[in-house]
Amino acid sequence: MYKIAKANLPALFRLIAENQELYLPVNTADQVNFAAWTEDAQVDLDKLKTVKSPKDVFFPQSENLYSCVKDGKKISIEPEALKEQNFVVFGMKACDIRGVEVLDKVFLAEPVDSFYKARRDHGTIVAMACHEPEESCFCKVFGIDCADPAADVAAWMIGDELFWKPITEKGEALTKLAESLLENADEAKVEAEKTAIRSIVEQLPYSDLSLEGWNGDVLMDKFNSPVWEELYKPCLACGTCTFVCPTCQCYDIKDYDTGHGIQRYRCWDSCMYSDFTMMAHGNNRTSQMQRFRQRFMHKLVYFPANNGGMYSCVGCGRCVEKCPASLNIVKVVKAFQKQGGSNS
């Protein structure tokens, strides 16, 4: 276990950024999101949750896959280069790290997504414990311990000091790079902090949310439930929930006409959008109820069915905070509980 004074963090960031890109929570125009560190960046490590999850460090909202360039009658195809430089993501919370594990299931399974894999291979994650979890958090429901996040390095901000514990080889390498700024520390303060965080988590209003009855075996029961017809109505069909979510992974692939060729790019898609999974024959979800249902069925039924019971919700609570109509996955789960007093 090591530690570094909070006042020395700018020096740490400078040191890391000399060698590689560094992404961390930065305040831009009053909103905190993960962004590349620069000397002028307003780093904000106190904000519990960034607006967007950090997933776009590994899975950007929009990225080019290849370009076609037309020169007379010749067409050349240039694949987009894969990430080759190492980088560090600093300050990811336990829920967002589980989010990346969910993305791994999708993008690292055969056929492996080479763009995603290159970023995963080159990225080192410094996780941070959640000092004061908030009422919209429910990571505990998914067995996540926000007091003790596991990544390449785990860190705790306690008072004016950041405690630092390398976990993996990548984490050891980063620790070596930063060793001139780190000093040895004992674990007592960290253990006390963990206990304090866990006791707060116990009191969070959503911590006892029951997911009983949500699994891969209830597909048709849940799919055909009349509850969806009631639930979806306030939904504005915007993509806020899907775009702030750490696990939403659906994307669209499109061509951008450059005038002398095309850029084939992919960008996040949202099941809330009317052209989601649109095919030549048309759209297989024709109503907003169906699109709304898709999001929650995917997170709580389809994904666990295909991934050994793993939910693709991590309880970060961003949708709880950001939905313009105040709908969210917690309300969905509760509505099913209420209906008939059971979960089915």
């Binding site: 909202q61 504005l236 993509g239 775009f243 702030v244 951008y256 898609d269 949202s270 709908l327 917690v330």
Partner: protein, 321 residues
């Protein structure tokens, strides 16, 4: 609120209306959701308090397609949107029974949280009855207080007034909560150099994640198929290409709603990235006022809108009013 609920029950019972469009209590003190109620039993979840900021006018587009009448609760500023939707033939007046609900300013939970208040368990003072100047907030990290005015949505600080522009009946008192001029912020931006303006908007709009919440919540955005969703045009795209967000999407949207935007402020309320989108609309409103005389979209259902009406007195392109 009891008076409102009793009246709603009576109107449902005597079949004046078939359903009610209002707000349903959330599972937090601050997250009620727009909801339909069809029976007296449903109404046990009905709520109307300081957190019911959502403008229900737009939901009336869909409700107008249903059988029978829908009772809709509209705040004074929401009624401007409803009038504008009547003018655009997007809602059916005959299908609506409008209860003009009293409003004393609506609250913005983000403003409360921006004061460092977190772990919120309960909030008192947001109830519609009574006139609390201070919100008492019980949190996991102790008791906090916050002045009601400091927690109000931006739009309430430039309130258009306590009068409902259209209604069948009014229940509850309203208060004009304005303590500023809605064009002050616009004037500040007008005073900037072109480079400063560009930097300002680039910084704000680069936060955009193209979630389309601003468009989807906007009562003036009522096209059945938005050009940005149509796969028949190159304009259709979901990619968050920063240069596009800054230069196209929000600018085109602002142009499209110009002269029709009532300044209801929903775009800024719902933006997950806190982009002050209302500034675009207010710039257009300010210019329209300067060029064609004062005009408030949604103040009535009859007046011809300046941008869709030709008169010989209209200013010429390039002229400044």
């Amino acid at each position: 609120m009891q008076e409102l609920i009793s009246r709603i029950k009576a109107l449902l019972a005597d079949k004046t209306v078939d359903r009610v469009l209002g707000w349903k209590a959330g599972d937090m003190p601050y997250n009620p959701e727009p909801a339909y109620f069809e029976t007296e039993e449903d109404l046990k979840d009905f709520v109307y308090d300081g957190f019911c900021g959502a403008n229900l006018s737009k939901y009336m587009i869909e409700a107008s397609k249903l059988e029978g009448k829908t009772l809709v609760c509209l705040k004074p500023c929401d009624t401007y949107s409803f009038n504008q939707l009547i003018k655009e033939h997007r809602v059916d007046r005959e299908k609506a029974y409008i209860i003009g609900v009293g409003c004393k300013g609506k609250l913005d939970i983000d403003k409360i949280k921006a004061q460092g208040i977190k772990g919120i368990k309960s909030i008192s003072g947001a109830e519609i009855d009574g006139a609390a100047d201070t919100l008492k907030i019980d949190t996991m990290y102790g008791e906090k207080t916050c002045s009601y005015a400091d927690a109000m949505l931006e739009r309430c600080h430039v309130c258009k007034g306590k009068e409902h522009m259209i209604y069948d009946e009014i229940i509850g008192e309203s208060k004009d909560t304005a303590d500023g001029n809605r064009f002050d912020e616009v004037a500040k931006i007008e005073a900037m150099s072109p480079e400063e303006k560009f930097a300002f908007f680039q910084k704000e709009l680069s936060k955009c994640i193209r979630c389309n919440a601003c468009r989807n919540v906007c009562p003036a955005c009522s096209c059945r198929k938005c050009v940005f969703d149509s796969n028949k045009f190159d304009s259709a795209q979901k990619a968050n290409v920063v240069s596009f967000e800054e230069k196209m999407f929000h600018i085109i949207r602002a142009f499209h709603v110009a002269g029709r935007c009532t300044d209801c402020g929903e775009c800024s309320r719902v933006c997950p990235q806190g982009i002050p989108l209302h500034l675009f609309n207010r710039k257009f409103i300010k210019d329209i006022n300067a060029f064609y005389g004062d005009y408030q979209a949604g103040a009535d259902v009859d007046a011809k809108a300046p941008l869709t009406n030709f008169t010989f007195d209209d200013i010429e392109p390039g002229e400044r009013g």
